[in-house]
Symmetry: C2
Subunit: 319 residues, 2 copies
């Protein structure tokens, strides 16, 4: 469709793949960049419907050349060092990719004639410490990030705002809360549960699951809802606005596990392993999507039970 060309950095990643599908279904033509072909299956699938480019966003020149060539109407910046946990051991790399990479992409977007929106994917990790500990987070809350990942996203958000005020790059910022779905990396808690259950069902693992902190409560969404939010932000978001994309509910990891165990016929023993606990884990994270609802009509469509079933089935098939 004319004037509906969307470019996605990190298109080969978990959310990137879903976003490509969301946009294609909505009639966009889609291109995107990957850093390397590290998920060849995914890329092969994407190549059927999208134009895929190799791009190192740390190269200012490469980034600028590609963006100038493509002249997209929409840019979705998903490429990032995206593991909160691993950002601690990769602090400098996290800042480099998430701050300098964003800066390169913003610079490349200055003066683009046909750009309608630059959607920057940020995170609820920006909030970090807050009080009281059971607070429902809103876009106007203080940002006290406690991980290199969170720190990098706050800085990148600020740089986005600067590129709007200085150079009129029409940025909008998505503060996405935790989301999950089929295809997510197993270092994340839900796919790790699903994989273990599927392994046990397939007789490839003893009926024993090692798990971390089950008492933490998180605001969990289906990745398909979140990427729809990204699209709505591109279409209806106000330049400079920050929108939380979330479910509005906090659910404990314990109850996620209970739901998943109920989906399996196997009798499984659960063992809590303190080695899996994160330092300074925040007890409860819950967002509020009122602003996104009002401004762009966002609300979650998927029931989280469906998300869990789809994820479990994905692993059952894979194993």
């Amino acid at each position: 469709m004319k004037n509906r060309h969307a470019f996605i950095t990190g298109i080969g990643g978990f959310a990137g793949t879903y976003l490509a599908k969301e946009l294609l279904d909505a009639g966009y033509s889609v291109s995107g960049s990957v850093y390397k072909d590290d998920s060849p299956e995914q890329i092969k699938f994407l190549k059927k419907t999208c134009k895929i480019y190799k791009l190192d966003i740390l190269s200012k020149l490469q980034t600028s050349k590609l963006i100038q060539k493509l002249q997209p109407n929409y840019i979705f910046h998903l490429a990032a060092f995206s593991s909160v946990g691993q950002s601690f051991a990769n602090e400098r790399l996290t800042y480099k990719i998430n701050i300098d990479g964003t800066l390169n992409l913003l610079e490349a977007s200055v003066g683009l004639k046909k750009i309608a929106k630059f959607v920057f994917i940020s995170s609820s990790e920006c909030y970090g410490k807050f009080s009281p500990k059971t607070k429902t987070l809103t876009e106007d809350d203080l940002l006290n990030p406690i991980s290199p990942y969170g720190i990098s996203k706050v800085a990148a958000e600020h740089i986005c705002q600067l590129y709007l005020s200085r150079f009129q790059v029409p940025i909008v910022i998505a503060r996405a809360f935790n989301h999950s779905g089929a295809g997510q990396n197993e270092i994340c808690v839900i796919p790790s549960f699903c994989k273990q259950i599927a392994m046990i069902e397939a007789g490839k693992q003893k009926p024993l699951m090692n798990v971390g902190n089950l008492s933490a409560k998180r605001d969990l969404s289906d990745v398909r809802d979140i990427v729809r939010g990204y699209r709505l932000m591109a279409e209806k978001g106000k330049a400079g606005a920050v929108y939380q994309l979330c479910s509005g509910k906090a659910i404990s990891i314990q109850s996620v596990l209970d739901k998943l165990l109920k989906l399996s016929s196997k009798k499984i023993t659960v063992k809590i392993d303190k080695n899996f606990f994160r330092k300074n884990d925040i007890p409860t994270i819950r967002g509020d999507y009122s602003r996104a609802k009002k401004a762009i009509g966002y609300k979650p469509n998927y029931k989280f039970d469906k998300t869990l079933l789809d994820s479990l089935n994905y692993w059952r098939e894979k194993i």
Copy 2:
């Protein structure tokens, strides 16, 4: 004095020189680093009483070696790309020096046996946009920086907090508001006024002053008060705390100019030049030093009229 060794990065700068004097007067032994001998007079003066080292804080190795060798009890991190105005044209360099440089110094400080406090010099520029526009700022306000300088200081503050929580580097953060005094660079508004008046008095300039936005109100302190605040933070500040150092009053640039003109016997015409106006200038900036007063006994000692007179006399002597 034993266990009173203070190390100052950027010791050759405006505030660095005053801080060295403040600490020496209080009985500290003082060392410090300069990037290059760009103010040879200053450095010559400092070398009489302090150990001065050349250091590029962008070199992780150099920084670590020097800190390990010196084993200071106190670190004051003043070295920075410090011009808000010039940070726009030097965005990447600003992030490099102010973020990566701080990270290098923090890394070098991890595990120092005798360190009592790491004082990070931040800025009221962290606040950026706020509302209402006449608000009195406190340490708990949102940080919405609108300059590369402000963005870099927010990120560096967050990294400081991370190094406290992860590695127990005993950081404290000074959010210094505008301060002035003899020796300040003439790209700043007050020394620029003082220099022009001194030039006119010496017959080296026509009795005409070109000035920028006079309606902006700023919270202005004497540099000697601010550096005393840095020392008090080192001695009494709580690890992890942020303290605003300011006067608590907002005074218009117009009234600063009026006061300076009154100090001169010459009849001087003032011409407002829109070219000197900053984009997005914040109308009123006023801080609140209650937290610093309660925690570390900070209050301004210098009347601002004295600051202005000293600055003017400095330029009179220089010209």
